[in-house]
């Protein structure tokens, strides 16, 4: 129970403080800007309700991009990690490339991807997958490599083939690690989707935020942020629940 109450209490206190500060124009005064630029939580809630149809339409688009992009990255991450684990030369050759892929400045590359793939879902998926791919691959690879060497020796004297060692020992050992990577990835996937939409898009919460920002509709902008946070938290929670179900032997499970 306290697991729910503690974060809820903190959120309520912060939102309450924000509400009061916005109502009394404390924040606007401190920043020396117009009070309407800083919406109170109650105004954001009102925007969430009144613009619900507008927000929902864009939210569905963004959620679709996040789920698809993340799914692509999860599949690609595993398909990348397994050969890298099995072949030492491949690992030595490709691991630096894997790390280098993360130094690509997404914000700069995103417009180029739009030029390449057009205005559709393509560039968004590419950006999300590019961001999510790294934590999933690195964690899965670490998991595959974390198998106790004594266990591998024992499996060999128990007549295990290379494939059996992988299937019976290495893959189950790596599964909780995969979930660790996936949980990191799903949280940043949401940011990736917004970047993608900023670079060129006619729908999605990122597109909506750009428009709201241009029209100084700050309450609507924050409403979109609230929805994005809810997506990240919800997807993270879903992954945690799935992990608990299919990889319960991981280090976090007790």
């Amino acid at each position: 129970m306290s697991r729910v109450l503690a974060p809820l209490g903190i959120v309520c206190t912060l939102v309450g403080a924000w509400e009061l500060a916005a109502r009394w124009d404390l924040l606007a005064g401190a920043l020396n800007i117009e009070p309407f630029l800083i919406p109170a939580p109650s105004e954001i809630a009102t925007a969430l309700w009144e613009d619900r149809e507008l927000l929902a339409a864009d939210a569905w688009v963004t959620l679709g991009e996040v789920v698809l992009g993340f799914g692509l990255a999860a599949v690609a991450g595993v398909l990348f990690a397994v050969p890298l684990h099995l072949s030492r030369p491949l690992r030595q050759a490709l691991y630096p490339l894997l790390v280098a892929s993360q130094t690509v400045p997404i914000i700069v590359v995103a417009p180029i991807l739009v030029v390449w793939f057009g205005f559709g879902i393509g560039p968004k998926l590419a950006i999300i997958a590019l961001i999510c791919f790294f934590p999933i691959t690195v964690n899965t690879l670490d998991g595959l490599r974390s198998v106790d060497p004594d266990l591998a020796k024992m499996m060999r004297t128990l007549d295990a083939s290379r494939w059996q060692l992988f299937r019976r020992v290495e893959a189950p050992t790596a599964l909780p690690y995969f979930f660790s990577g996936a949980k990191i990835a799903v949280a940043v996937a949401v940011i990736g989707a917004v970047f993608g939409e900023w670079s060129g898009s006619d729908s999605g919460l990122g597109h909506l935020m750009l428009q709201a920002s241009a029209q100084l509709l700050t309450a609507r902008l924050f409403a979109a942020v609230v929805i994005l946070s809810a997506f990240a938290i919800g997807l993270f929670w879903l992954l945690s629940a799935l992990e608990h179900k299919v990889a319960w032997w991981g280090p976090r499970a007790t």
Binding site: D148, K153, M154, T157, L158, D159
Partner: protein, 280 residues
């Protein structure tokens, strides 16, 4: 005298016809494990100076030595997981690493049970690797659980078992591999003294019931003298044999009486003296 009077359920012979028939060749006579002029080093570090050893079929041989004297290396060399620098090793007449691997089952100090499998699936791991289906493997493993005091724990997860029971399951896993030679690497080193004593008695009963050729590596003098027909004492690195003891009544029951007898005490003293001298 045996707690397990019935016939063995697992014949120490390979299941599949495609495997080299190491088991039968051993039963035919000659040494189950033959080591001749073995020497081994890791780089500049000489681990085993010289070792000759012939283990008869169904003999339990203990290898006693100070920590870090190359005992575990010896087991890996026998099992074909490593190749010696010099000398020859044969398991059931097989000299090639693959042939040695086919004849040996290795039990490490930690139980290394797979947490995602039940106790019986852990024990039946080798049967699954040898190509049996899950139900088939479980059916073969189940009688051993009943016979060796693990009845009712077949479906338990490793973390639900006591450390002693986990070690029992690990031993059954080694036994169910149906290899003629068992290589035990300080199998009870991680247990407390009382559980260790119980486990030794349990293994003595299990070996009476399922006789195998065993090479047991330990630094516990009492364990080696109680469980083994013959005990080799190694000196500190580089290892060589400094003493050899033939025990008068290995695996006698009850263990308490056996390990407190005057003969046992005399053997223990000899072994300890040899260990002390070898450690210098």
């Amino acid at each position: 005298m045996s707690k397990f009077p019935e016939a063995p359920v697992v014949e120490p012979q390979p299941f599949s016809a495609s495997r080299p028939d190491t088991g039968r060749r051993i039963a035919g006579g000659g040494a189950a494990v033959a080591i001749d002029g073995l020497r081994h080093s890791y780089g500049d570090l000489e681990v085993i100076a010289r070792l000759d050893l012939a283990v008869r079929p169904r003999e339990v041989v203990g290898v006693l030595g100070p920590s870090g004297c190359g005992k575990s290396t010896l087991l890996e060399l026998i099992a074909g997981l490593q190749e010696p620098e010099a000398g020859a090793i044969a398991v059931g007449g097989e000299r090639a690493p693959a042939g040695r691997l086919a004849g040996c089952a290795y039990m490490p100090q930690r139980d290394l049970l797979l947490p995602w499998l039940t106790a019986i699936d852990n024990a039946a791991l080798a049967l699954r690797n040898q190509g049996r289906g899950r139900d088939d493997a479980r059916r073969l493993a189940a009688p051993l659980f009943g016979r060796f005091g693990l009845e009712g724990f077949e479906r338990s997860r490793p973390r639900e078992l006591s450390s002693g029971m986990r070690q029992c399951v690990a031993f059954l896993r080694t036994l169910l591999a149906a290899k003629p030679v068992l290589l035990l690497d300080e199998p009870f080193g991680a247990l407390d003294a009382i559980t260790r004593g119980e486990m030794q008695e349990w293994v003595a009963g299990a070996l009476d019931f399922e006789p195998r050729t065993v090479v047991l590596v330990t630094h516990d003098v009492e364990e080696a003298l109680y469980l083994c027909d013959r005990v080799l004492v190694l000196c500190a690195r580089p290892a060589r044999v400094v003493a050899e003891l033939v025990t008068p009544a290995p695996r006698a029951a009850p263990r308490m009486a056996a390990v407190t007898s005057p003969e046992f005490s005399a053997d223990r003293e000899r072994a300890l003296r040899a260990l002390l001298e070898g450690a210098r």
